[in-house]
């Protein structure tokens, strides 16, 4: 096994081109587990932690360009207000020690269907910035996940950054697990109201071979929500939305839960999340609320009340 230590991004790309079989390592929270438990032994590790620019994020217009080395802890601390859905999901990752190391780009590289950052990235139309010595390209998040633990990266490509649009309406993430920390999602769901476009974004996690959107649910909600009058959410609409989200999933029975449970739980998560998001949208009476209501919804929104939707 080799340990490759690039000092610059250009050097990292050169090394990945020369050694496409090398496994990139950032926080190590997935890669080291594999090695420690002898589940797999990469031919080489490509350590990306020495590269300073990967640890930076920047705002470019209405998009946050999140460097591949920005940890969950920093995302929560520095970007909670403008990326509330992703920040909520980040708060549920592992433990403080894990959040101090793990990164969104690492979640994307591993491409586990259960990764916590995938649903909010899907719900808000993130774009993955991949690069190789051949050049850079932008991969829409919906095209990024190609199979269980598989993604659209070419063997010589590395993730440089993730481009995440600043929230343009309420966003929520919730997940099912046996305790409040150190939980791999039994299933998870994220919603983003794109209020100005009167559009609903969704992301379903840990309930199909890949994270995926619930397109039929998105279209149904977009058409049935009272964007103009902001009237209370019709419980029938919320329930149907939940059913459509559950219908988009293709879960399996495994050690964390049965398929039938996942389907049921997803319908509940989605119905509640729509209720929370819609309540926030209605409460936000500012005229420009559709454009820039990127406030931090906090991490404590997981309580099981259906605020206004029951």
């Amino acid at each position: 096994m080799d340990f490759l230590r690039p000092r610059t991004w250009a050097e990292a790309l050169d090394l990945k081109a020369a050694r496409p079989e090398a496994t990139p390592i950032q926080g190590g929270t997935d890669v080291m587990v594999e090695i420690n438990l002898d589940k797999g032994r990469p031919a080489a590790l490509l350590d990306l932690t020495p590269i300073p620019e990967l640890r930076e994020w920047s705002r470019e217009g209405d998009v946050i360009r999140l460097g591949a080395g920005v940890t969950y802890a920093r995302l929560i601390g520095e970007l909670g207000a403008c990326l509330p859905g992703l920040a909520q999901a980040s708060r549920t990752v592992g433990s403080p020690q894990i959040r101090n190391r793990g990164t969104v780009a690492g979640n994307l590289g591993a491409a586990s269907p259960a990764g916590d950052s995938h649903p909010p990235l899907l719900a808000c139309d993130a774009v993955v910035e991949a690069e190789s010595v051949r050049g850079a390209r932008l991969i829409p998040i919906g095209e990024f996940y190609t199979g269980v633990k598989r993604n659209a990266l070419a063997p010589d490509e590395l993730i440089r950054a993730v481009r995440v649009p600043v929230a343009r309406g309420p966003q929520y993430f919730s997940k099912i697990g046996t305790r409040n920390a150190m939980v791999i999602a039994v299933c998870s769901f994220s919603i983003a109201l794109h209020a100005a476009e009167r559009r609903v974004g969704t992301g379903v996690g840990s309930a199909a071979p890949t994270p995926r959107r619930a397109v039929a649910a998105e279209e149904f909600a977009a058409a049935r929500l009272d964007w103009q009058g902001r009237s209370p959410l019709d419980p029938g609409v919320a329930r149907r939305f939940g059913e459509l989200v559950a219908g988009a999933a293709a879960p399996i029975d495994d050690v964390r839960g049965r398929a039938a449970y996942r389907t049921h739980a997803l319908a509940v998560l989605a119905r509640r999340a729509l209720g929370w998001a819609w309540a926030d949208f209605r409460a936000d009476t500012r005229a420009d609320s559709g454009r820039d209501s990127g406030r931090d919804s906090g991490g404590g929104s997981g309580a099981g009340d259906d605020r206004g939707s029951a």
């Binding site: 096994m1 080799d2 340990f3 230590r5 390592i25 926080g27 190590g28 929270t29 890669v31 080291m32 587990v33 090695i35 420690n36 438990l37 032994r41 990469p42 080489a44 590790l45 350590d47 932690t49 802890a73 592992g94 433990s95 403080p96 020690q97 894990i98 101090n100 190391r101 409040n180 920390a181 150190m182």
Partner: protein, 174 residues
């Protein structure tokens, strides 16, 4: 490969390090610092928590090579009279408890230690919490900070007592 790093304030090097090895293995087996414990090897239990460049992390999930040029502080490094490094002091651990950090002493005084296996990780993580805290943190904050550290003996009440006790001693109420 050789890995150069600073541990508990002292520059050192580990030789013959396997490329897939963890920082935890380097600390325990190559540098003779057994404070950080090896339990789950997958970041689930927090027993191996150490500071890496001032941030608490699970040492089992840091590849040894990632520690090159970095600064590590282990539970041994928190105590003044303890063993900043094995060859610097008489024995592992200072039984008199003279140089213990307030967090370490509070764990003893509160009876937060039973088998002791989780204690080093809890001490480092509690140390990190209290370094940032202003006064005694609310229980919710303590629980959140320690959510990644598993204890299978005492339950957590004595551990919470220890953190509150340490917080009070570190910043006595006016």
């Amino acid at each position: 490969m050789r890995v150069n790093l600073t541990v508990n304030g002292r520059a050192t090097a580990a030789d013959d390090v396997w490329e897939g090895e963890s920082l935890l293995y380097v600390l325990r087996e190559r540098l003779g610092l057994p404070g950080a414990k090896n339990a789950c090897e997958q970041g689930e239990c927090g027993s191996c928590t150490v500071y890496l460049d001032g941030t608490p992390v699970c040492a089992c999930l840091v590849a040894a090579g990632q520690a090159e040029g970095r600064e590590v502080v282990t539970v041994e490094g928190l105590s003044r009279g303890g063993t900043p490094f094995p060859d610097a002091g008489p024995a592992h651990g200072d039984v008199s408890g003279e140089g213990l950090h307030e967090v370490q002493r509070a764990f003893l005084d509160a009876g937060a230690v039973q088998c002791g296996f989780c204690t080093p990780g809890l001490v480092v993580q509690a140390h990190a919490l209290l370094a940032e805290a202003d006064g005694v943190p609310p229980d919710a904050d303590i629980r959140e900070a320690l959510a990644g550290n598993l204890c299978r003996c005492t339950g957590y009440e004595k551990i919470l007592d220890a953190v509150r006790l340490a917080a009070t001693r570190l910043r006595p109420p006016p």
